[in-house]
Amino acid sequence: MTSTQTAARPGALTPETVTDDDVAVVGFCQSPSVRRSYSTTNGTEMLVPIFQQIYKDLGITRRDIGFWCSGSSDYMSGRAFSFISSVDAIGAVPPIDESHVEMDGAWAMYEAYVKLKTGETDTALAYGFGKSSAGNLRRTLALQTDPYVVAPLWPDSLALAGMQARLGLDAGLWDEAAMAEVAARSRRDAVGNPAAQFAGFRAPDGTVTDDVTAEQLLAQPMLADPLRRHDIAPVTDGAAAIVLASGRRAFALCDNPAWITGFEHIIDSAELGGRDLTTAPSAAEAGERATGGDVAGITMAELHAPFTHQELILRSALGLDGAADAVAINPSGGPLTGNPMFAAGLQRIGNAARAVIDGGADRALGHATSGPLLQQNLVCVLDGRR
């Protein structure tokens, strides 16, 4: 397998030294995460405003984009080729170069990245969208499992995650307090993110406070034993878009592009009962390759963990465990405070890139997952390289 990492050649990048092989995130925009949107399942209504925003931010028009790639799911919308209608939000006249992945938009971004690496274009826009509220999400997600011997039982996503959580609880790898701490930190951090679906703590009497503790959350009842509500990302409608550019074009669009210095995605076996579900070997391997084995400079990481225990698995797999003080994990509030299907992974990379573009981080890591129980994992390392 070839590696795309360029982490081995650090150093300042300037308009004079940059090459077309250097690819950066130059823009990111996301829709507000909401429990139920007025959007159609083709996402057009969520996408139009964020595309308009991202063009405005970058001072470009849609004609400046050389390649488009989207991530979404026909199962969510209940009809075939549903993503075709979302092209309305782009405007397809004159004809455009466009593609789609039936995965999180992060994988659409990977395809766009490869397209830029071929040199066929120097700008690309990747987007992801999902109207999770349209169906019974936890049931629909059962269709990601093996279609012969697992999916016919319709194991819903909460049941599968609950089994994974209990494996770690039984093995003493984590406890309920550690899981609740992930949720409490996420909800506290989400207070600063206007796009988050919710933040803070809602008491039984309906009052909401910005502060929230693990103890408060642990007092709540089980929803899908061993999971409580706070352990589970909320059903969310939403969308996200990222603009990539290569070489000098990136500097033309952005003063401080977030250079992609490592980008890897790997998959584990689909046999749920055949792998150790308390680990994510594909996340570990993708992280190892994308970071070049060096996470030291990373000060901020956005992890796509739709369940509290999955953040614990990912932190360990990516070597970010025990680094809570050195690395800010999900300062946006993360997927536990807004998890639009097929956009949440792209949002993680977008938030990480924004931290680099804004100068808040020199080196950040974005992670996305797709499929059941962290089966597929993608890691993107973003570098200021000034």
Binding site: S39, F51, Q52, A89, R138, Y148, V149, G162
Partner: protein, 333 residues
């Protein structure tokens, strides 16, 4: 997006179909054996027995074909309580999903355990398969598992295990080739704000579109964004129910669900004031008389039958006016 003045129209779509899949020799033998109330796995390159079997080794990708019969009882490796079962689950009352490692297996299978509450579940507990009265060569032939000390379980025993040539002969006897899995789901489909406005107007006998702010072209039905320029459309425009046939086809083929006896005409009709033709029927004349440029007018259903649907227009019929000149619709073909 901003909150619309009127909530968009929405309705459930209920999808139902049978997935029909070929299963291959490994899964086919496993499911064929389930139909005869035996459980088999396959030995991996590292010697581990996978149940359910996998076709290829997850580590080496080698094809696997050494079958091993395993027990009907085993150990719960992990579990989760399903307080609110979903359609299609093995049980409709609350139950546990579990990963169960059957005796003789090294991997665990996903299945349901029937107990009356989470307090009866524990990691490591012994459970036994309960078989369907009528088997169909599907994972559901094991309807669920029960704790081994339950009365249901006490009645069950493992059959005399088969191995070697006897197992091969048994598995070759009646493997499943095609698996049919019924599928159904409901999605609440929402029209866009613009489509809802169109549907509400047509329920009042009016046809409205929306204008692209960049090109000035009017889309009917309206869309949330101009499909050519990707910009929001917000200016609503009422158009005529009279128009011009831009192109058409004569339907001669009968099909299931057909409402009109062939031959009949499906046509693109460019309503006066619109820039996108609408697909509808042209009736009221012999199909052979329909032509490009023909002027037609909507024939509406009786007012009391109007609903938010383009079906309020029963069909279009010739107006008898002279044909529109080709140049007037050439751009819209």
């Amino acid at each position: 997006m901003p909150t619309p003045d009127l909530e968009p129209l929405s309705a459930p779509i209920e999808l139902q179909f049978d997935y029909t899949r070929s299963v291959g020799p490994v899964i086919g033998r496993f499911l064929g054996a389930l139909a005869r109330r035996r459980i088999v796995g396959v030995r991996g390159s590292d010697g581990r027995v996978h149940v359910p079997p996998v076709e290829f080794d997850p580590d080496t990708a080698d094809p696997l074909d050494e079958f091993v019969e395993v027990g009907h009882a085993g150990q719960v490796v992990t579990w989760s309580w399903v307080a609110d079962p979903v359609d299609g689950n093995p049980l409709s009352e609350p139950f546990a999903f579990a990963l169960i490692r059957l005796d003789g297996a090294d991997t665990a299978m996903v299945h349901a355990v029937k107990v009356d509450g989470p307090a009866r579940m524990s990691t490591g507990m012994r459970v036994r398969a309960v078989w369907a009265e009528t088997t169909t060569a599907a994972i559901g032939d094991i309807v669920h598992f029960v704790p081994e000390d339950d009365a249901d379980a006490a009645a069950g025993t493992d059959p005399e295990p088969l191995a070697g040539a006897a197992l091969t002969a048994f598995l070759d006897q009646d493997p499943l080739q095609i698996l049919v899995t019924p599928f159904e789901m409901t999605v609440q489909h929402s029209a866009s704000v613009e489509e809802s406005s169109y549907l509400r107007a047509i329920a009042e006998g009016r046809v409205v579109g929306q204008r692209c702010p960049e090109t000035g072209k009017v889309y009917v039905p309206p869309r949330g964004a101009s499909p050519t320029h990707g910009v929001p459309t917000d200016e609503e425009v009422e158009v005529s129910d009279t128009g011009t046939v831009t192109t058409f086809c004569i339907v001669n083929v009968p099909f299931i669900g057909q409402k009109i006896k062939p031959p009949y005409v499906g046509a693109y009709i460019l309503l006066d004031g619109a820039d996108i033709p609408l697909l509808h029927l042209v009736l009221g004349c012999d199909p052979s008389e329909v032509r490009m440029g023909m002027r037609v007018r909507a024939v509406w259903k009786p007012r009391e039958e109007w609903v938010p649907s383009t079906g309020n227009i029963e069909h279009f019929a010739p107006t008898g006016e002279p044909d529109a000149p080709y140049e007037s619709y050439a751009e819209h073909l």
